[in-house]
Symmetry: C2
Subunit: 200 residues, 2 copies
């Protein structure tokens, strides 16, 4: 399904076309494309270039790890995510490697890495879906994630599935309109809450 | 200056070409391009589509707000950021609008919005630089940012400046090689610290 964002100002194609699908095809993702996904995350910006991101990853060709990853998801997410060829947990290093103190941009910078990853996925013709709905405790236990590292989100990536072959509720979710708050609600000038003329 | 990332796996152009410049030209950014920057942020993914981002923004054509924004930056950043046409503070809403409780993905999702914004900037021929080096307290005071909202990063966006006309230390910073940890250091399989064969 193609659901380009309806915008007032023009966007680059990957941003315009990225959305969170719930209908995946089980077809394997080519090795080079998987490499490009994490290469994209790698080149995200981060505070003092600290690169606080790590991922635990598996494809369906690695069923032991894949099934462990799947088991961390909330059941409502497992229903559709189990079709995606690649699952991952994104983990934030909460400690600055430079100062040894808390990195207050750790989660923010993992967000940048994930954003790059899903835009690269979109450009490669892959569907993506990031999820907060999983058990960080279970991920920590299964994958021996050390203290000081926070399992932050999970990602499902794969080829888009055929709408007609999916369950009715997934078809309905997949075809829902993408929506966002208007720019004037959150782009402000000198005082909080006053819309900037730059986005009118 | 053009500094494409040196990668093993191919990347889309905006990810490949984005980097954090310290040499800007004062030339104004066209209104439609400014619109596209925030449109790009707008279409980022967020947990439960909560869209926890806001921005306080000004260009040089709005000197009162621009100078207030500039005054929030650490002096070492002011030196070069003062040339950029657009300055902004990115602010995270720490409370979920859905549950009224803490949104543990707020900073992560603002990171996704910022990543989209700087990739869109890159595609439009603009230079960008995100900064943690500013005073959140000063931003909160000057712009009346309410409790429950966290000033997280600042951004400088503008046309790239001419290398030769910049101070020697900025020329040196601008020409430094972009570097990142190898994928095998942070893309793991079943156990923490074990590199995934998917990125070898």
């Amino acid at each position: 399904m193609h659901k380009p964002a309806s915008t007032h100002f023009p966007l680059i194609e990957p941003i315009r076309n990225r959305w969170s699908s719930v209908i995946f095809d089980e077809k394997p993702i080519e090795a080079e494309k998987i490499g490009s996904l994490f290469e994209a995350a790698r080149w995200a910006a981060s505070s003092f270039n600290d690169q606080p991101w790590s991922y635990i990853v598996a494809t369906k060709a690695q069923p032991d790890v894949y099934n462990k990853l799947l088991s961390c998801l909330m059941e409502a997410n497992q229903v559709w995510a189990k079709k995606a060829d690649l699952l991952a947990v994104a983990v934030a290093n909460l400690t600055s490697t430079r100062t040894g103190k808390t990195n207050r941009h750790a989660q923010h910078d993992v967000g940048q890495a994930n954003a790059n990853l899903v835009l690269q996925a979109t450009a490669l013709g892959l569907a993506s879906h990031q999820m907060g709905g999983f058990s960080p405790d279970r991920a920590r236990e299964l994958f021996e994630i050390p203290a000081g590292y926070e399992p932050l989100t999970m990602l499902a990536i794969g080829y888009p599935g055929e709408t007609k072959s999916a369950a009715a509720d997934l078809q309905s979710r997949d075809s829902s309109t993408r929506s966002r708050r208007p720019l004037t609600d959150w782009v402000f000038t000198g005082t909080w809450g006053t819309s900037s003329s730059l986005v009118e």
